[in-house]
Symmetry: C2
Subunit: 196 residues, 2 copies
């Protein structure tokens, strides 16, 4: 997008690569608690002050790591039914929260880094926007009442996953995504997200 690097060539790019690779590796191998600018700098072979200058804090590093890992072409699933779509979304959320440490780390960092908080806000705003199609299609098929609030529906479908896995830190349960998605679909069919 904007912020085109004024000197994209060899060295800066290489520094960026080495640092982001090191950050991801550190996160995967030793977890969020182990993350610090110094550890990542050491591991990448790039000088501490350079990392401080370019990324400011761990939140900044994670923003960049997520940004690189995330897929600009992402589209919401389209399985042919509301329930199928919600289940599919929830499987993605579940995977993001259990298989991959980046999302949870970014959430943790968002409480200490304005950069990280902002990136997360933007990421989620974008995802929930795109997911509005799921509700639109379901309404067109007549599965749910016209006038269903897409955002409220999607949040009802996904929030319990974040709640259990991130806040309550409950043990991961592989059929939680499906269970929660089905509840949300039932609720939507009953018109739970139409009133104002």
């Amino acid at each position: 997008m904007t912020g085109r690097a004024r000197r994209p060539g060899g060295r800066s790019a290489a520094v960026r690569r080495r640092v982001l690779d090191a950050a991801l590796a550190q996160l995967v191998q030793h977890g969020y608690d182990s993350m610090s600018i110094d550890v990542v700098a050491e591991r990448s072979g790039v000088h501490r002050t350079t990392v401080y200058r370019r990324w400011r804090d761990v939140g900044g590093l994670l923003v960049d790591v997520l940004d690189e890992a995330s897929d600009d072409a992402w589209r919401p699933p389209d399985t042919g039914s509301l329930e199928g779509d919600l289940v599919a979304v929830n499987h993605e959320v579940y995977a993001a929260l259990t298989a991959n440490p980046v999302t949870v780390a970014l959430i943790a960092a968002s409480f200490r880094s304005e950069q990280a908080a902002e990136a997360l806000r933007a990421f989620w705003a974008d995802r929930y926007d795109r997911c509005a199609d799921i509700a639109r299609r379901a309404a067109e098929r007549g599965e749910i009442p016209a006038g269903t609030d897409a955002r409220r529906l999607l949040i009802a479908a996904t929030a319990p996953l974040y709640h259990e896995l991130v806040l309550l830190r409950a043990a991961a349960d592989a059929h939680l995504p499906e269970l929660v998605a089905r509840s949300a679909a039932t609720a939507a069919r009953a018109g739970a997200f139409t009133d104002r």
Copy 2:
């Protein structure tokens, strides 16, 4: 409960008082970001090393602050209808997340302090347990199907609040509690929390 102080008398109690008062005041006046052992120690007039020894980290302080502020005799609301009960619960959650900084601070701290994480887990487990009565009474009144899973219902009712206010950091919206609670009640009536 357990962990009876072996020397509860004057000095230790006074130290505890001064430190916890200082911690709460600091949190209220300058927010979670400003919290550090050193700042709280300075403010309370108790020596840094004493605070480090007794509370270990900011998470430990917040655990104690919450513990003191929280009401052992808390019972879930009983308004006569499922929807009324859920709305009442959500108003409490909403207040805890907007009017009072302790809960959000403890959530933030839980990503850095095992003590804080554990305290939060225990606190929520207890609250959700007590709230099971809400579902039981609703079932007895015939409002919702027998076999409704109380925990899933309560999480459906509250999780979107946490999601919006804590994770998405959306602007506070005073009728969000009611909106979300009503959706959950509708969902429960439609049997969204009975299947396995």
